[in-house]
């Protein structure tokens, strides 16, 4: 089954961000959403390490290592940017001031439980939690962005998380390389599906019941929807 590239998935997520919303992009894949934001979207990006209104990546050779994002990658600041300390930054996150946080995940359950910091294995790997948990608890909406399955083709969308939780019942929307799925009181609703996929093939790689939306949209392989 073909699937969205990381780039196409980032474009898909970017196109769904609320106009003029305050958005936090988690470390790793979510941070690439910044590269696909339309200038006229008015979206204002926040990073936990103390900046609001992040611009595009700097040209090579012009990196400023005091101006980085949560992934510790050099960024730029847009006009109207502000710098602040971590306590105010996490007040924004924990206090419900971020409209949408885009987070990566190992697993998401059908009730919106999020597991994104540890696989729980005692293999000597070092654990790290960072600020994802603060966002997961505090942002107004939590969207997850991840590959639909693990490298071993195991489903990441599950009945119940087997990995240690980051937070319970917080995820409202999942963007994968195959579909957009809303977590609703009725269950997991497929809002959009990759053009080369079908609900049946999606069900095979999803370990929780799926409902096809009555107005299900089609995602192009480049991550655009209906020409957006």
């Amino acid at each position: 089954m073909s699937s969205l590239s990381r780039d196409a998935l980032a474009r898909l997520v970017a196109a769904h961000l609320p106009q003029q919303g305050f958005v936090n992009l988690g470390i790793g894949a979510p941070s690439h959403v910044a590269d696909h934001l339309q200038p006229d979207s008015g979206v204002i990006l926040h990073s936990e390490n103390g900046i609001l209104n992040i611009g595009p990546r700097p040209p090579q050779g012009e990196e400023d290592w005091d101006l980085i994002n949560a992934s510790k990658i050099p960024i730029t600041a847009r006009p109207g940017c502000s710098y602040f300390d971590s306590s105010l930054s996490f007040a924004m996150m924990r206090g419900g001031h971020i409209d949408v946080a885009i987070l990566g995940a190992f697993q998401v359950s059908q009730s919106g439980d999020l597991a994104n910091w540890s696989t729980g294995e005692r293999n000597g790997s070092v654990p790290g939690i960072g600020g994802a948990i603060d966002l997961a608890v505090g942002a107004k909406s939590i969207w997850v962005m991840m590959e639909h399955t693990t490298r071993d083709k195991a489903p990441r969308i599950v009945d119940r998380c087997t990995y240690p939780l980051t937070a319970a019942g917080v995820v409202s929307r999942i963007f994968t390389d195959l579909a957009i799925i809303d977590i609703t009181p009725d269950g997991l609703v497929v809002d959009a599906l990759l053009e080369s996929a079908s609900i049946e093939t999606l069900k095979v790689v999803t370990a929780a019941p799926l409902i096809a939306s009555g107005s299900m949209r089609t995602i192009g392989l480049d991550g655009t929807i209906g020409g957006i």
Binding site: L52, Y83, F84, A91
Partner: protein, 220 residues
């Protein structure tokens, strides 16, 4: 682009309704957004709960709200030298919740920062501990203080841009900065609205994420 500038104080208070909780910035007159005093009165709203360091003095301040009888309760640290408030208070027409100033500020901060409360050493062994949960940590006694939030916060800044970034002026910063984090609608009265990009990003005190409305103070 985001633009939170509104025409005047009347638009800044739009949507306020009976029974709302309102934070008012300021330590005395410094940091008090005077424009909303009249604007709120004009809405005819009543039964307000006010969160403020003081209870007005005799200028265009909270005194007018107490005189007009639109305040049901005030959560306050120092309501002295406030004659209009005192009259309502003596008559039993206004409820007073007296809160140590640092506790007041910290409760507002907790409200804005998504905390469920904090353990304060302030007030232990005094009347300010009455009715509150006592919690010991390592043998030291603390009071559990709970967060404060409001429907509206009205504060006074020096400069703002259209995005809603705000600076303050000298000691007029006081409670304004935390109050600007802890309300559903935050409206800031400023002396000056400047172009986006002209404020020093290192010196912005209230980043725009907290601010919903900005308006210019009327020339006095």
């Amino acid at each position: 682009m985001r633009n939170v500038v509104v025409e005047n104080a009347r638009e800044a208070v739009a949507g306020i309704k009976d029974g709302d909780t309102v934070m008012m910035g300021g330590f005395g007159g410094a940091g008090l957004p005077t424009g909303v005093i009249e604007a709120v009165l004009d809405t005819g709203v009543r039964e307000l709960t006010i969160i403020s360091n003081n209870a007005g003095a005799s200028g265009p301040d909270l005194s007018l709200w107490f005189a007009a009888g639109i305040v049901r309760k005030i959560i306050c640290s120092y309501p002295r030298n406030a004659e209009a408030f005192a009259q309502r208070y003596r008559a039993g027409e206004v409820e007073l919740e007296l809160v140590p100033q640092g506790t007041l500020v910290e409760r507002i901060r907790a409200g804005g920062a998504g905390l469920g409360g904090f353990l304060s050493p302030v007030g232990v062994g005094t009347v300010f501990a009455e009715g509150k949960r006592a919690i010991d940590v390592d043998g030291r006694g603390y009071i559990l203080e709970l967060p404060l939030r409001a429907d509206f916060s009205f504060v006074k800044g020096r400069q703002a841009d259209a995005l809603g970034n705000v600076t303050y002026n000298k000691t007029a910063r006081n409670h304004c900065a935390v109050m600007a984090t802890a309300a559903t609608t935050v409206a800031v009265e400023v002396d000056e609205i400047v172009e986006v990009g002209t404020m020093d990003p290192e010196a912005i005190v209230t980043p725009c994420i907290f601010v919903d409305r900005v308006y210019m103070r009327k020339p006095q």
